[in-house]
Symmetry: C2
Subunit: 239 residues, 2 copies
């Protein structure tokens, strides 16, 4: 087996290059949808997109099918594909379900995490902090924000990585991807507030102190805060 040391990658999950054209198109499309380049509800015509992403029709079709797995694209019978619509209700559902799963997983992680898990938590938190510094210093360029997104995701992933439930982690991955789409809307208006760093720090402290109730409480507040930010957005952004 090749997971000898079980050292998770801190690169954000996109370490290995796509081994197939379809997977490459899938990743490109996924980022474009999350970034809002393809608007929610928009029709995704294979004939047009195949040129844009430089693949054949069948290959692009396969990429779209993969996106259906992530629920970022919906397929309707004999009527093609469409970007999954968004709504405040949907984000509320995503957030509450995410809180449910992520708190349980964090609890298990705090119970069972070993030294390596603690080290990974500290390391990914450090990576995230550095990305935050870069965001403050330089202007809000696109690459910096993307890097922050990757490291924020890695941080949350590492936090629950010691949970024994692969299914909870799997569902959490899907939900995180979904919420990324909504968070992008709120970040577009207001930059990352300063206290986010403090919240992350508090989660790390409580987790390392093996204080599960405190850690899950802070994590819950932390996730719910993004919901509030989206609630305060102008309605027309949730087209």
């Amino acid at each position: 087996m090749n997971d000898v040391a079980s050292v998770p990658d801190l690169t954000g999950g996109h370490a290995d290059e796509p081994k197939t054209l379809a997977e490459g198109a899938y990743r490109q499309l996924r980022r474009d949808i999350i970034e809002g380049l393809h608007r929610p509800g928009e029709k995704l015509r294979v004939e047009h997109l195949k040129d844009q992403y430089s693949v054949g029709a069948g290959t692009l079709r396969e990429a779209l099918q993969l996106l259906v797995t992530d629920a970022l694209v919906v397929a309707q019978g004999q009527r093609g594909f469409r970007v999954a619509p968004i709504s405040l209700d949907d984000f509320e559902d995503i957030t509450r379900t995410r809180v449910l799963l992520e708190t349980v997983a964090l609890q298990q992680s705090i119970e069972r995490g070993d030294d390596a898990w603690e080290a990974n938590v500290v390391a990914s938190f450090h990576m995230l902090s550095r990305a935050e510094d870069k965001l403050d210093d330089s202007s809000k360029n696109g690459h910096g924000r993307e890097e922050w997104e990757q490291r924020n995701r890695a941080f949350h992933e590492v936090l629950i990585s010691a949970s024994p439930s692969r299914w909870i982690r799997h569902f959490q991955n899907i939900l995180y991807l979904q919420s990324e789409r909504y968070r992008r809307l709120s970040l577009f208006r207001q930059p990352i507030p300063r206290d986010v760093h403090a919240e992350h720090q508090a989660i790390v402290d409580a987790a390392l102190a093996r204080n599960a109730p405190e850690a899950t409480r802070i994590l819950t507040d932390h996730i719910l805060r993004t919901l509030e930010a989206v609630r305060n957005l102008p309605d027309d952004l949730l087209s």
Copy 2:
């Protein structure tokens, strides 16, 4: 609009015919995998299967991709598709996650369900009871068991149908499909025990009495019982 009365289908969810060849192959393949016709871990070669399911190579490929969504098939980079392996650990994970999601959803359902929900619960329970009768009377023929599976699934689906969380219901669907695969193993050895009907009856009673703690307790025991049955199976069945 055509959902005037919001009457859910009690046919087990496979009411509408497949509108595309790919979807047809997908459903056939899904049943064959759940039924164990394709063994866990088995390699699924497109060239062989395309004749067996009477579709083109690209179409079968698409069907396999859909199965990846349900986690019944795993795709490995440039090395084709494979039936998802099974293990006792996996089933334990599936069961515990299912308990977590289904109890929350049932609680919400009991809180918010209206008259129509109550009627659907009673109706689907009746359908399930009839299927149980047929199972007892006639021999354990294949069709009867399949019908029971469909109605059992419909029953559990209706129970949580009043939950407002589409995401929990979505995840529950996936997990139910997974557990069906394992349940088939235990049913193969021992027929459905008699007290399953009593358990279902107790859940219905508690749900209609709006006794959420009691209903979730029984539901939890009910789901965990299948885990015990699988635990007592000979090890070699979990190949």
